[in-house]
């Protein structure tokens, strides 16, 4: 029966090729547009470390200006910490792992190699690599002992290692970072978490850094933060020491807390520190000490922007237009063939069989429309990708990183195509079965 109905469907398509093409096109366009917006949305709202998202917490405290909130529209503490607060919190032994970091500009050069290269450098602590599960191609992280006092060790990204050493295993060699020699202890493998949840200050989809040095080097070499630094108050900041002791926030801190008990203890520790400082005259705003897990952090940081939500809505509105269109066209087409259906009914086909036959016709249409829609979505995404990539002059970073077609996108397309067109086909297929056969047997 299925084969027969399929043959009937193909025959029916052949009868009105124009109308059939129109329906396929409408379905395909609707699916293409909604799949495109969903793919980008999915890319934006992704949680790149979902498997341990509820163990990793960003640490923030509101030590901002008592007169003015950090940002009036957000009701959140500043996303970064001051050096003195971070230093104190970092001394806690409650977390299983803890990371303190910021990023800075630097210049890498290797003896006898190509010209020096400017690199974005992250000053961080040893746990960074294990905590965020950063993959290594060669070597490994430095040991916790190398954090303090800081040892002259460095980890390079794979890209930087390719540039400086042609991709060879460079572990054990030395490079110069600005004016100082560092021994390479590890080279990262390809790693590009999207969004860059552990530090969103330099852009949500920016590439990870090119070089990693122990945190204390940053302070010792008086390296300045090259992302967001925010200050308040009227104490002069003339020297680096002034800066370190100021109320300027510029450090990101993350802790890994495996249990709820550990989380509670950490929160108590922060609250205790807050109370002590509050008594001493700092932290004069309402108490707002936060441990924020990764998924909440991404929401608080507004990684998914309003434009994107709007586009998803638009995508579905467009899909709706296309489907209503398809319902109308299917209805017209089925009713047009009512005479044939009348004959079949008169020869004994039940309403259910007529319904099934037409539904199979709809199914065939939706399959073709779905495939075409997928292809169109791929073309559309490539176009958007090109738009972003050309604005970035071919450099990585930004939305271009999430305009790739992924498995989820394909599944969405297939699912949408099936659900949508079947939904669109139900009514016309049902309607045509309800037609009284008799009048169609008469001449018009």
């Amino acid at each position: 029966m299925f084969a027969y109905y399929t043959r009937l469907a193909l025959h029916s398509f052949g009868r009105n090729p124009g109308l059939t093409a129109l329906m396929v096109l409408a379905i395909a366009l609707g699916i293409a547009v909604s799949v495109m917006t969903l793919t980008v949305y999915h890319g934006m709202s992704g949680n790149p470390i979902w498997w341990k998202s509820d163990r990793l917490y960003s640490v923030t405290m509101d030590g901002w200006d008592p007169q003015n909130p950090y940002r009036a529209d957000l009701h959140l503490p500043p996303p970064e910490l001051t050096y003195r607060d971070a230093r104190h919190l970092f001394d806690s032994n409650i977390p299983e792992r803890k990371v303190l970091m910021y990023s800075s500009n630097g210049v890498l050069s290797a003896a006898g190699r190509a010209a020096p290269v400017p690199v974005n450098t992250r000053f961080t602590t040893a746990d960074f690599f294990a905590m965020f599960e950063v993959p290594f191609l060669y070597g490994s992280s430095w040991s916790a002992g190398a954090d303090s006092p800081p040892q002259p060790v460095i980890v390079l990204s794979r890209e930087e290692n390719d540039k400086l050493f042609g991709g060879a295993n460079s572990v054990g060699r030395t490079v110069r970072w600005n004016d100082h020699e560092f021994r390479i202890v590890g080279v990262l493998n390809e790693w590009y978490p999207l969004p860059r949840y552990y530090d969103l200050n330099g852009g949500n989809f920016s590439p990870p850094d090119a070089a990693y040095l122990p945190f204390n080097w940053g302070i010792e070499l008086e390296a300045l933060n090259n992302e967001e630094t925010d200050c308040w108050g009227s104490d002069p900041v003339n020297t680096y020491k002034d800066f370190i002791n100021s109320e300027c926030v510029f450090l990101q801190m993350w802790v890994e807390l495996p249990t709820r008990a550990a989380r509670t203890r950490m929160q108590d520790f922060m609250d205790g520190y807050w109370a002590e400082q509050h008594k001493a005259g700092r932290f004069q705003r309402p108490r707002d000490n936060r441990l924020t897990d990764v998924s909440q952090w991404l929401i608080d940081s507004r990684v998914v922007d309003n434009d994107n939500r709007l586009l998803v809505g638009l995508g579905f509105a467009f899909l709706a237009v296309c489907l209503i269109n398809t319902v109308g066209l299917l209805l017209a087409k089925f009713l047009n063939g009512a005479a044939v259906t009348g004959v079949r009914r008169a020869l004994g086909a039940s309403r259910r069989q007529i319904f099934a036959q037409h539904l199979i016709e709809v199914g065939a249409l939706s399959a073709v429309g779905g495939v075409l829609g997928l292809a169109l979505a791929a073309v559309g995404l490539a176009a958007v990708h090109h738009l972003y990539a050309s604005a970035h002059l071919g450099n990585r970073g930004g939305y271009q990183e999430i305009t790739h077609f992924d498995f989820t996108g394909v599944m969405w397309a297939v699912g949408l195509a099936v659900v949508a067109t079947l939904a669109a086909g139900l009514y016309p297929a049902w309607r045509v079965g309800r037609l009284p056969p008799a009048i169609y047997l008469k001449s018009q």
Binding site: S234, A317, G328
Partner: protein
């Protein structure tokens, strides 16, 4: 001339489904179109705002010293002398602050020493050639003189202020409403004071995305080595990219104690800052065009279907005296009725969506002119789409009435 609305209406009501489906499409299309175009126009306005800068002809060169042998002040002098000697360069300036780049410094300024510091304004460090290098117009007061350019900040006096500043007119009006800002004093966060000596207009600062991108002030000071230095180079029209290649080649070799991070056109920074708005506009226009296309195909298909199922009736009407133009009119009026139904529902939907967007995303409330434009264009599209089927209907010969199938 009667349009015979009543019989058309009754025929429509007898066969509702197709008409209702088309009207629904028209309603959705109107809601999508009106709101999308409204958002697009806001983005186009935003991208097209005056910058006051000769954006197309400006290059930005970023340079960083990185060795102990690096001499910052000497390097700046040497680089500027070289840049000004290059054929095609109109002016070159050493700055901290890249216009339209979405990155940079914001600092508070107040008009009385005891005032609350609530707002931050975009600040640039500039020299006496900056205005010329950007092509910015001085509208009051004077430019900085060479001898007024302060030495760069060091890690011993990083809080030092400057004696004079130049401000954008927008900032001047914000700080001193309805007053002549020239000669007025402003105070920084440490109550160090500076006098306003010049006003420029228009000028957009480093942050096009901020609420007040034109609140900018300039300090006459060489940029510090530890904070970052950029040269702003204005070129003769048509020579920008040639000059970029030339100076990049020279500067990368001229001093082993620094690297040239980048040599980029100002359009690069501008385009990147507006990329999201630009893409959004393209996307919205494309989807709107598709919505209209699909809707008009739907109208066309329904009209065609109606014509083909009514061939016999059309023949009968022709046989009893209806002219071709009566038949055409019948189908056009029918289409207008359907579209009107859709448009009425669409207006309500468009306003509801517009209201929801204004609440949810803090967009300005929908401008009603857009709604009127949308209604008119959908009526037009409906009539155009129904035109060809109506003509086909008119071509049905009266003799059809006498045939049986």
């Amino acid at each position: 001339m009667s349009l015979n609305v009543r019989p058309i209406m009754s025929a429509l009501l007898r066969n509702r489904t197709g008409a209702v489906l088309v009207a629904m499409q028209v309603a959705l299309a109107l809601a999508v179109m009106v709101n999308a175009i409204y958002i697009v126009m806001q983005r186009v306005d935003k991208i097209g705002r005056a910058t006051g800068i000769d954006v197309d002809n400006v290059l930005i060169v970023q340079s960083s010293g990185f060795t102990a042998n690096y001499h910052h002040v000497a390097t700046i002098q040497e680089d500027l002398a070289y840049l000004r000697s290059v054929d095609g360069v109109v002016a070159a300036s050493a700055m901290r602050g890249i216009p339209l780049s979405d990155g940079g410094d914001n600092n508070p300024l107040v008009t009385r020493p005891d005032a609350q510091r609530t707002d931050n304004y975009n600040s640039w460090e500039v020299d006496e050639e900056t205005l010329h290098a950007l092509g910015v117009q001085l509208v009051a007061g004077r430019n900085f003189r060479h001898d007024e350019i302060q030495p760069p900040l060091t890690k011993q006096d990083a809080s030092r202020f400057v004696p004079q500043i130049i401000v954008s007119r927008a900032l001047a009006e914000h700080l001193f409403p309805h007053e002549n800002p020239l000669g007025k004093r402003v105070y920084d966060s440490l109550n160090q004071t500076a006098t306003i000596i010049g006003v420029v207009d228009p000028l957009m600062g480093s942050f096009p995305g901020m609420l007040h991108p034109d609140w900018v002030y300039m300090m006459p000071r060489a940029p510090a080595d530890f904070l970052g230095l950029n040269y702003t180079v204005r070129t003769r029209p048509g020579t920008r990219d040639t000059v970029a290649r030339l100076i990049e080649g020279h500067l990368a070799q001229s001093n082993p104690n620094r690297v040239i991070d980048s040599v980029r056109s100002l359009t690069y920074y501008k385009d990147l800052s507006y990329l999201a708005d630009h893409t959004m506009a393209i996307y919205l226009v494309t989807v709107t065009a598709l919505v209209l296309g699909v809707t008009s195909l739907g109208i066309f298909a329904l009209a065609t279907f109606n014509v083909s199922t009514r061939t016999k009736q059309i023949g009968t009407r022709r046989a009893v005296g209806a002219r071709r133009r009566d038949i055409v009119r019948y189908f056009l009026v029918e289409n207008a009725l359907i579209t009107s139904g859709g448009v009425v529902a669409g207006c309500a939907l468009a306003l509801a969506v517009g209201y929801w967007l204004s609440v949810q995303y803090a967009l300005p409330r929908l401008n009603l002119y857009y709604l009127v434009g949308g209604v008119l264009s959908l009526w037009g599209i409906g009539q155009l789409a129904a035109w060809q089927p109506a003509r086909r209907a008119a071509a049905v010969p009266p003799s059809v009435a006498t045939r049986t199938v």
